[in-house]
């Protein structure tokens, strides 16, 4: 990890200080279980925001509310100036076409080859593309994640790390303005996790996309995030750069950094 430079930007210091995503007093509960308890935060254009927290803290639910997979009970979630909680399916799909989502286990379509996985997303979002254009885009996306030779493989033939990279290629093929990473390094060995972290950093440079990275992996948070928010029981416990969080005096946050 010596080659990686740590990001040290603090809240509000990002060069493009223009919120692309805003959560305002968002609540979500499942039965009696209150998962989000009025969280508010924003993500600036071109920024990598880390949402850090233990399992069950509401990290994944927050991004699921953002992309409309789950409906927030209360509050406002603005993406590119539009409140996604008030959009109909068609309007929501317009927003979704600009968002790439990397799921925890890749969520590749089992019955399709890698090529078909990528073509499926692209062709459904842009039906006017020729076969040659689709093939070029697929190859480009796979080259970006370093897996061009896996193009004709089935998901069952891929390792966990490869599945995540193909999942990332599928998210990138639509040239998204926003990328959401759900636990990008979870379940991976140290070397593969480092490769994924490098990939996230290179994507930030190449695509200049705004990213939300959900993780409980401090190494991932340290090297990929511009800013970090820490969630506990559906509320934001702390916010700031990695150094701010590391130096936080709160006992619960300190426990995160204890080895």
């Amino acid at each position: 990890m010596e080659t990686m430079a740590k990001n040290t930007l603090k809240t509000g210091e990002h060069p493009n200080h223009q919120p692309l995503i805003m959560f305002k007093e968002v609540y979500k509960s499942f039965g009696a279980n209150n998962v989000l308890n009025g969280i508010s935060f924003s993500v600036n254009k071109g920024e990598n925001l880390i949402i850090l927290g233990r399992s069950g803290s509401g990290k994944s639910v927050a991004v699921k509310c953002l992309v409309g997979l789950t409906k927030a009970d209360k509050g406002e979630i603005t993406v590119m100036g539009k409140d996604v909680t008030k959009l109909n399916e068609q309007e929501l799909n317009q927003i979704r076409m600009k968002i790439g989502f990397l799921f925890q286990n890749g969520a590749l379509y089992d019955s399709m080859t890698v090529r078909q996985n990528l073509a499926f997303t692209l062709e459904h979002n842009n039906r006017n593309l020729s076969k040659a254009e689709v093939d070029t885009a697929i190859l480009e996306a796979l080259t970006n994640v370093g897996l061009a030779d896996a193009i004709d493989k089935m998901p069952s033939e891929l390792s966990g790390g490869m599945r995540k990279r193909i999942g990332l290629a599928r998210a990138l093929i639509i040239k998204p303005e926003i990328i959401i990473y759900d636990e990008p390094t979870a379940g991976l060995d140290a070397i593969t996790a480092r490769e994924i972290i490098e990939l996230i950093r290179s994507i930030k440079v190449k695509y200049n996309a705004t990213s939300i990275i959900i993780t409980h992996d401090l190494t991932c948070a340290k090297y990929t995030g511009d800013r970090i928010i820490v969630l506990k029981d559906g509320i934001i416990k702390a916010e700031g750069s990695y150094d701010d969080i590391e130096n936080n005096t709160d006992e619960w946050i300190k426990s995160f950094f204890q080895k």
């Binding site: 699921k64 992309v67 409309g68 997979l69 399916e89 799909n93 317009q94 979704r96 076409m97 968002i99 989502f101 799921f103 925890q104 286990n105 969520a107 590749l108 379509y109 089992d110 499926f120 997303t121 459904h124 979002n125 599928r170 639509i174």
Partner: protein
């Protein structure tokens, strides 16, 4: 008992709501023809060996079993007519639908359940692809169209099985056999029996999709989805058959 009944009504309500979405989505533009064709191949063509074997055995066994009773009344010559009538009106549609509920409904339930558990359905939705239209509409339209075709095919194979059965204890010319079959059949025997198979097909598809779509997280739920799909679809087939028989009795 009250809780059981309550759960049954909740299930019926949920399946009705799920089905009503089907009718909204099926008429929207952007039908997924490629996936529909793939499903027709998987549901229709790949079920042919199973339907052939069961259809043939149904015809053969029905003929052999009814022979002694018919022989007592000296009505052996009525066997071709009786077998074909029984097959076309009741046995082939119900047995084929039940076989398909076991093979197709459980397959759809397990496939979609697995997709749900591994977030593949969420991935589709996030990619601005309507998973209901892509997965549910294509599969349900395919079952609705393929089951009647499979039933008609099972009718023919069953009648052929009956011919073999008849010839086990005597010698009946194939032309004579089929002329006896067609003499005993009327238009009203075919029409209601065929209409009800469209309903069988629709419910086999929609119940499989409903159970798969509503699988909770965890691999255990995939098995449960497949199991519930078979049980619910089989029960629904019997209920539809009962209603269809009553209506046929009323109108024909």
């Amino acid at each position: 008992m009250n809780l059981y009944l309550k759960n049954v009504f909740i299930l019926v309500g949920n399946i009705t709501a799920f089905s009503s979405r089907f009718f909204k989505e099926v008429f929207k533009t952007g039908f997924e023809f490629r996936e529909f064709a793939r499903q027709c191949y998987s549901i229709g063509y790949k079920s042919l060996p199973l339907v052939t074997i069961t259809g043939f055995i149904m015809g053969l066994v029905l003929t052999i079993q009814s022979r002694p009773a018919m022989a007592k009344f000296g009505a052996e010559s009525w066997i071709p007519g009786m077998v074909s009538l029984s097959l076309i009106r009741e046995i082939a549609p119900v047995i084929t639908a039940l076989i398909c509920a076991g093979r197709i409904s459980s397959g759809i339930g397990a496939e979609l359940g697995s997709m749900k558990v591994t977030e593949q359905i969420d991935a589709m939705e996030v990619s601005a692809i309507n998973p209901y239209k892509y997965l549910v509409v294509t599969r349900t339209v395919a079952t609705t169209l393929m089951i009647p075709i499979l039933v008609i095919y099972a009718d023919l194979i069953g009648i052929l099985g009956g011919y073999i059965g008849v010839n086990m204890h005597g010698e009946v010319n194939i032309v004579r056999y089929f002329s006896q079959v067609f003499e005993s059949l009327e238009y009203v025997d075919l029409l209601p029996a065929t209409i009800k198979t469209f309903f069988f097909g629709f419910f086999i598809g929609i119940i499989g999709c409903y159970e798969g779509f509503n699988a909770s997280s965890g691999t255990e739920s995939v098995g449960k989805a497949a199991n519930s799909a078979v049980v619910s679809a089989s029960l629904t087939i019997f209920i539809i058959d009962m209603i269809a028989v009553q209506l046929t009795d009323l109108f024909f």
